[in-house]
């Protein structure tokens, strides 16, 4: 899924890649091997682990993650290969000849048990006091191998201070088993490189630059490391206690908005298969928990489309009609706070390309504490806004000092999907069994365009539906409004649509080939930025970037585990639900029309919009003080 050819991880963290024969029937393309006595014909160059997984032979792993390059350092997956003196790591051993493999001989099982015993001897803490209890790979392996005691002792004292400085990610190195998935996630998947192994031997630990707190380094808060941590060493900064307090405080009016991605994934926390949509049930659960109102972030996603789409048209007009050289094109989306912080750190001189529109979360917060407060006659200081997000970076975003255009903190708490699931479990509610219910008014209706924000390419698709129609007066020329070019898990996608027979207001766009690009994961974002700097994107107009692989459905606040298949299933849930919605274009959402009539009366990108719904960015750079 990573479109880059050059990975930044050292070779020690990478597998041996054998170029595979295209024609599987050719001589040498397949090789006959034996796994536990069973004869198999397998493609040359596949690793033992891949072969075993495909043939339902279970091999335990810890440092292996299918999204990441291969390290081979936990040694849990060792197997016996006949003729070799030492055991081989199944994840890193490509089959190139007719080998005989044993995956559970006495030697192998003993080695794995020893490795587990060693890891447990250094793993401080108890399972029942861990955020990952019952969803921990170390714990389940301990069960698998019947660990019933600490063979080589157990640490009884904490050795590391928990790093809670970041709004998004909490690091508890006492629980770290040094599998380095986080390191590989940060450097390869996300091209950030905040985390690295430091010191040597027994003193090795995962650290940051000069071992500084996470808040002080160039972490983009995407939380992808959390999703890939096998233990509880990394988790999100949980605000649920404060939210419970606000719920029980009678003077507070607690409003929650739920983003599109959590509802497509939260079922996983309750044992449902990935891709089970829980929209209606989630609304009921939230109401029963005691929230005063439950709103749909899709409404503000529609609002974002109106603002961002209008901004794009304004930029196009300035560039084409006014020949204004200071206008930057292509315009980049700004909904993903991970991506925003990435560009602030890594390309601080190019912030002008970013749309000034706030993310849907922040727009909603600002609207709730102004328009909604006024309509409902509630003092905004008594309103507590909570945002359920698939995202760890949203916690940082709502704490940005500039996010207070309503006069108050626009969004008080960012809550991840996992944390909301925990809160629901605390109530004893069984989410899948709850009746369905709708969102609350006055933002009770949203368009499908807002819903698909959750998947990579969704913002682009939603924006195109609106922009094309505004410009030409006709629907986008795609079957069922589905812009397939925007969909799918390819790292970088691009396409174009020709604007013809434009309405008079936009006649300057007549004949323009609107070129757009979609990228997800900041590694791909980096590739796009490098293309931009080389001038390869000068004829592009609009680029969507999501900080996390797969877009929001693969966000750092989503249920664990994650994989490309899981992300695809979640995306499918969103697209399926969207297809059945009555309104599928942001500008046709009646509530959007209402807010522009009643409140934002000078229209999209008008004066009030600019005050409430747009923001500015900081040139952060890479300097760490």
């Amino acid at each position: 899924m990573n479109t880059q050819t050059e990975l930044r991880s050292p070779m020690s963290q990478r597998p041996h890649i054998i170029s595979k024969a295209k024609d599987r029937t050719g001589i040498g393309a397949n090789v006959g091997i034996e796994v536990n006595g069973e004869k198999l014909s397998v493609p040359m160059g596949k690793t033992i682990l891949e072969i075993c997984r495909e043939n339902n032979v279970h091999i335990p792993t810890l440092c292996y993650h299918e999204d990441l390059c291969i390290a081979g350092n936990c040694r849990m997956c060792v197997v016996e290969v006949e003729g070799m003196k030492t055991l081989q790591a199944a994840c890193a051993f490509p089959v190139t000849g007719p080998v005989k493999i044993r995956t559970f001989s006495n030697k192998v099982r003993k080695a794995r048990k020893h490795i587990l015993d060693l890891l447990l001897s250094e793993h401080y803490g108890e399972c029942y006091s861990c955020v990952r209890n019952n969803n921990c790979e170390l714990q389940s392996l301990a069960k698998e191998y019947g660990v019933d005691g600490y063979e080589f002792g157990h640490v009884c004292e904490s050795r590391f201070e928990i790093d809670k400085t970041s709004h998004a990610v909490v690091r508890d190195m006492d629980k770290c088993i040094l599998c380095r998935r986080c390191v590989r996630t940060c450097i390869d998947l996300q091209e950030v490189g905040v985390l690295e192994a430091i010191y040597r031997g027994y003193d090795t630990m995962i650290g940051t630059f000069m071992d500084k707190p996470l808040a002080d380094v160039i972490c983009i808060n995407c939380g992808q490391c959390i999703n890939r941590c096998p233990t509880g060493a990394l988790h999100a900064n949980d605000p649920s206690d404060d939210i419970w307090k606000a719920i029980e405080d009678p003077s507070k009016h607690v409003v929650i908005q739920t983003a599109p991605s959590p509802r497509a994934a939260i079922g996983e926390e309750f044992g449902l298969p990935p891709g089970t949509s829980m929209t209606g049930q989630l609304n009921t659960a939230i109401r029963r928990m005691g929230f005063d109102r439950v709103f749909d972030t899709n409404f503000s996603a529609d609002l974002t489309i109106m603002e961002e789409g209008t901004e794009l048209l304004n930029r196009l007009k300035s560039a084409i009609v006014d020949k204004d050289k200071s206008v930057m094109l292509p315009q980049f989306t700004s909904c993903s706070p991970g991506w925003v912080k990435f560009i602030e750190h890594f390309y601080p001189e190019h912030l002008n390309y970013l749309s000034s529109a706030k993310s849907p979360q922040q727009m909603f917060g600002a609207v709730i504490k102004t328009f909604y407060a006024k309509e409902q006659n509630i003092d905004p200081k008594d309103i507590v806004t909570v945002a359920v997000m698939p995202c760890a970076a949203k916690k940082f975003e709502c704490n940005r000092p500039e996010m207070n255009s309503s006069g108050y903190k626009d969004v008080d708490y960012g809550l991840t999907t996992r944390e909301l699931a925990k809160m629901i479990r605390e109530t004893g509610l069984v989410l899948p069994e709850l009746p369905k219910s709708n969102f609350d008014e006055p933002f009770g209706e949203a368009s499908g365009a807002g819903l698909i924000f959750g998947a990579t390419g969704g913002v682009m698709e939603a924006a195109l539906r609106t922009v094309y129609e505004l410009v030409t007066g006709r629907q986008v020329p795609f079957k069922n409004l589905n812009i397939e070019a925007c969909r799918g898990m390819e790292g970088i996608k691009q396409a174009s649509v020709k604007l013809e027979n434009c309405v008079e207001q936009f006649s300057f766009l007549e004949g323009v080939e609107l070129k757009f690009m979609v990228a997800h994961g900041t590694a791909n974002a980096k590739t796009v930025m490098e293309m931009l700097l080389k001038g390869e994107l000068s004829d592009f107009h609009f680029i969507e970037i999501m900080g996390c692989p797969g877009g929001c459905i693969g966000g750092g606040g989503q249920p664990i585990p994650t994989s490309e298949l899981i992300r695809k299933l979640r995306a499918k849930a969103i697209y399926d639900e969207e297809a059945s919605l009555p309104v599928r274009k942001s500008h046709e959402n009646p509530r959007i029309k209402y807010i522009y009539e009643k409140f934002l009366t000078d229209g999209p990108c008008g004066k009030l919009s600019h005050k409430l719904l747009h923001t500015h960015y900081q040139k952060r750079g890479k300097f760490i003080s």
Binding site: P10, M11, S12, R14, P15, H16, I70, A71, G72, N73, C74, R75, M76, V78, K85, T86, L87, A89, A92, F93, P94, T96, K107, K110, A111, H114, I115, L118, L119, S121, E122, E151, F152, G153, I177, L178, E196, A197, Y199, R200, G201, Y202, D203, T204
Partner: protein, 411 residues
């Protein structure tokens, strides 16, 4: 054997006192390269094959196989890397070779470059040997002046070769060839997954041969005098001679060139250590051999070593020796794989338990078992060999170690 000189601690000034069948014999600067350039590449590889030369770093991989793979590889770039990260405790032969016989090492590398089709050679010099750097650089400059390095080496049209020196920073694990390459590439010195081996995917992803200093130093002699001549010394499976770094309780510590197959007893007689109680063969990761096994011979097929011979007499406490080795491994494990990172700590803790008399034999056996797992499950040679002293010392010296402690044992 009778002709062997007894050398005291080596200094640059003692070269004239050294003698030995191969390395410490006479060699004219550049003559090896000259001969090699007059030969066909395959001829060189055949001589190398006939010599049955095995890598002198300790692992003993046949040098000709390594070279043949790289020579046959189809890549625009290939590299010759000389592993001069001499970090194994008790080894100091490479220091002698580099400071007294640089012509052998660099000529060997140049011949390697010619044979496999590489244009760049890199010496990965141990950080502690920084003091040698300016001397070696000036020697390389001399070679360039005389045409033994650079464009069209010694007038051989189309053969360009140069050598650069890179410094390590003191990590023991960087002597492991893949960790060495990682370090050269600028990363943290950590071993890679094998396969791929450096001969396929080495420095910067190109086919690379990594050989020990001593291996390269032998090449000019083999090229000049032939593989069959080389086999005159040593045993059938361990041909040629070996440099032994002898240290510890003996009259004449130093570097000796002896044929493979010399028994420990013979070596002890030569260095003046008749009252030795134990000999650590192969450095910290080697094995500790007691008196009753002094008839064993030093060879790949018996007591293999990269050159380190440490001699201990009756005044030494074997448990303390073991403890210092285990402390070394705890310190020097790279920390990447689980068995080595934590396993060595557990073994050291076991030694400390024995020291205090607070142990059970059951637990010690459990630790030996853990050691055997480390030997087969660790990612690289470091973790695979670090339990050796633990297992061999506790086995070979159990009377001494447990005699006084057994009373204090909990069982």
């Amino acid at each position: 054997m009778q002709n062997l000189k007894r050398n005291k601690m080596n200094t640059v000034f003692e070269k004239q006192n050294r003698s030995g069948p191969i390395l410490f014999s006479k060699y004219d600067e550049g003559s090896g390269i000259e001969k090699a350039l007059s030969m066909d590449r395959n001829e060189i590889l055949n001589e190398l094959r006939d010599s049955k030369l095995k890598g002198r770093g300790g692992a003993g991989f046949p040098t000709s196989s390594k070279w043949m793979i790289v020579a046959a590889a189809n890549d625009e770039k290939k590299y010759v890397i000389c592993n001069a990260d001499e970090g194994e405790p008790g080894t100091f032969k490479d220091r002698v070779l580099l400071s007294e016989y640089p012509e052998l090492v660099f000529d060997g590398m140049t011949i390697a470059g010619f044979t496999i089709g590489a244009e760049e050679g890199i010496v990965y010099l141990r950080g502690e040997y920084t003091y040698m750097l300016s001397y070696l650089e000036s020697y390389l400059e001399k070679m360039r002046q005389s045409g033994r390095l650079g464009k069209n080496v010694l007038g051989k049209e189309g053969f360009n070769f140069d050598i650069i020196i890179r410094l390590g920073s003191g990590a023991y694990v960087c002597g492991e060839e893949t960790a060495l390459i990682e370090s050269l590439e600028g990363y943290r010195g950590e071993p890679r997954n094998r396969p791929p081996y450096p001969v396929n995917t080495g420095f910067m992803g190109h086919p690379t041969i990594v050989n020990n200093v001593e291996t390269f130093a032998l090449i000019p002699h083999i090229v000049l005098k032939g593989g069959t001549w080389f086999c005159e010394n040593g045993t059938d499976r361990s041909t040629g001679s070996k440099l032994f770094s002898v240290s510890g309780d003996c009259e004449n510590p130093g570097v000796y060139e002896l044929p493979w197959g010399t028994t420990i007893k013979e070596l002890l007689a030569i260095v003046g250590a008749e009252n030795a109680k134990a000999v650590q063969v192969g450095g910290a990761s080697g094995v500790c051999i007691g008196k009753k096994d002094f008839n064993r011979s030093l060879a790949y097929e018996d007591a293999a070593t990269g050159g380190s011979i440490m001699i201990f007499n009756d005044s030494r406490n074997m448990l303390q020796i073991l403890k210092s080795f285990m402390e070394f491994f705890v310190e020097e494990s790279c920390g990447q794989c689980t068995p080595c990172r934590i396993g060595n700590v557990k073994l050291l803790e076991g030694v400390e338990m024995i020291e205090k008399g607070e142990f059970t034999f059951e637990y010690i056996e459990k630790l030996k078992d853990l050691g055997r797992t480390m030997q087969i499950a660790s990612k690289c040679g470091l973790g695979q060999t670090s339990p050796n002293p633990f297992i061999s010392t506790l086995e070979n010296f159990k009377e001494e170690i447990f005699k006084s402690k057994a009373e204090g044992a909990l069982t």
